[in-house]
């Protein structure tokens, strides 16, 4: 059974990647959304002028963009499963339900990380040039991205499975998703801030926040994993 599950996991993930490369639905909509958000940020910050240290607000701005961007992708990832009843076909197959969760989770995480990795440099290019830049090492930023994206995709995969079956899918996902992600976002902003400011104190604070992120990921993704079977069969 183990080897069949592995085949199924790979097949679902591969299918999602093939479809995404073919349609580029998620990547373009998420990327465009991120770029548009930056335009809005420029407007939002314009009156603050040169006196503003962008590094103070940047971590928050990044995660605002990413959290809303992630919801676009999460919604898409289940809409095409519902389109022609494919989800039923999937459930009819001799597949352990957690395999579906893991495969969709992995796909969502992958797409989210790709878009984050593409948009973050653009963000830095547009807002941080000529300023102090990153104080801490870049791997710190990368670590926050991975850590927080795990939590976002894990809970997001469960909630998107729910919201795709509700009336008003998009707003439903936001209503459920944002309050649940509060602790993760708080920690992600804290850790990103520490990474951007740099220095020995910031490093200690960084690891403290990363501890929160890791704890949240473990608890909440496990909970989502455990609940998934019930939700997808409902």
């Amino acid at each position: 059974m183990g080897s069949l599950s592995w085949r199924q996991f790979k097949a679902i993930l591969r299918k999602d990647i093939v479809m995404e490369l073919r349609t580029r639905e998620m990547l373009t909509s998420m990327g465009l959304y991120a770029i548009l958000t930056m335009v809005v940020y420029q407007i939002a910050l314009v009156e603050a002028g040169e006196g503003l240290d962008v590094r103070l607000v940047m971590p928050g701005l990044i995660w605002v963009a990413f959290i809303f961007m992630s919801m676009l992708g999460l919604n898409r990832s289940f809409v095409h499963e519902k389109d022609q009843g494919c989800l039923d076909a999937l459930l009819l197959a001799p597949i352990d339900r957690p395999v579906i969760f893991l495969a969709k989770f992995a796909g969502n995480l992958l797409f989210l990380l790709v878009v984050e990795a593409l948009t973050l440099p653009v963000f830095a290019f547009l807002f941080l040039q000529g300023r102090a830049g990153f104080g801490g090492p870049l791997w710190m930023v990368a670590l926050v991205l991975v850590g927080a994206s795990i939590g976002i995709s894990g809970i997001g995969t469960l909630l998107a499975t729910i919201s795709v079956n509700t009336t008003g899918k998009d707003i439903m996902l936001a209503v459920l998703f944002v309050p649940l992600q509060y602790p993760l976002l708080r920690a992600a902003v804290g850790a990103t801030f520490a990474a951007v400011i740099g220095g020995p104190d910031a490093t200690a604070s960084f690891w403290n926040w990363m501890g929160w992120i890791a704890g949240f990921d473990i608890i909440m993704v496990l909970a989502a994993f455990g609940l998934y079977e019930f939700v997808i069969e409902a």
Partner: protein, 227 residues
């Protein structure tokens, strides 16, 4: 019918105890004083605020508890119980928010402060509202119950994490009842209020449940006549 009787007794007792706590707050419990000797009259709202807040969290536990029971058994009665527990939670959470806001207005001169406990309760309010928004947007009864159970469990796990993470940032929330430093009349007043509030919570829950059970029986009768 015995349980319904108990609910009504609890309702009366709860009402008596919370009223008693209210009177004790103003006529018996000594006022708390600032370090400079001024009397802190606003502190008295905590005899109400804290019991309500604790009751809300306790009732929310039953949302998750019955959520788990529902997922294990798929029996509708557990879904009804989880939903009613969440209704009572919403009531208490809103009361907590309202009393908290009144206090920040008097003490800090602002209506709202992004302060750890208020923030946590704000998030919890959103989660509980989200629970009902979710219920309203799923048509199939059983699917609705399953989704609500899953979300209720997640929300119950999430709320304490929110609470602790906001406390990492230095809290400006007053430590109202310092351990050991509480004078007996204050403690007794508080405990009376707390017990009363829990009884009220229990009574609200049971009375709502009774109502739902009646509806269910009516439904069964209708189906019986129709078939």
């Amino acid at each position: 019918m015995k349980r319904g009787y108990l609910a009504e007794v609890m309702l009366v007792l709860g009402a008596v105890l919370t009223t008693a706590a209210f009177l004790m707050t103003f006529f018996w419990a000594p006022p708390s004083v600032y370090p400079d000797g001024r009397v802190d009259f606003a502190q008295k709202i905590f005899y109400f605020h804290v019991p309500v807040a604790e009751a809300s969290f306790l009732v929310f536990f039953f949302t998750a508890f019955y959520g788990v029971r529902f997922l294990m058994t798929k029996r509708k009665e557990f879904d009804v119980k989880a939903r009613i527990a969440t209704e009572v939670t919403l009531f208490f959470v809103l009361l907590t928010m309202a009393t908290g806001i009144l206090w920040t207005r008097v003490e800090w001169n602002v209506w709202w402060q992004w302060e750890p406990r208020l923030t946590t309760y704000f998030i919890m309010t959103l989660l509980v509202i989200g629970y009902f928004v979710l219920r309203n947007s799923v048509e199939d009864e059983e699917r609705r119950a399953t989704y609500a159970a899953a979300f209720g469990i997640l929300a119950f796990i999430d709320a304490p994490i929110s609470f602790f993470i906001t406390r990492v940032v230095q809290s400006t929330h007053p430590v109202v009842f310092k351990s050991g430093g509480l004078e007996p009349p204050m403690l007794v007043t508080f405990i009376v209020g707390q017990i009363g509030m829990l009884m009220l919570g229990y009574a609200f829950y049971q009375l709502r449940l009774k109502e739902e059970e009646l509806k269910e029986r009516l439904e069964a009768l209708k189906i019986g006549l129709g078939g």
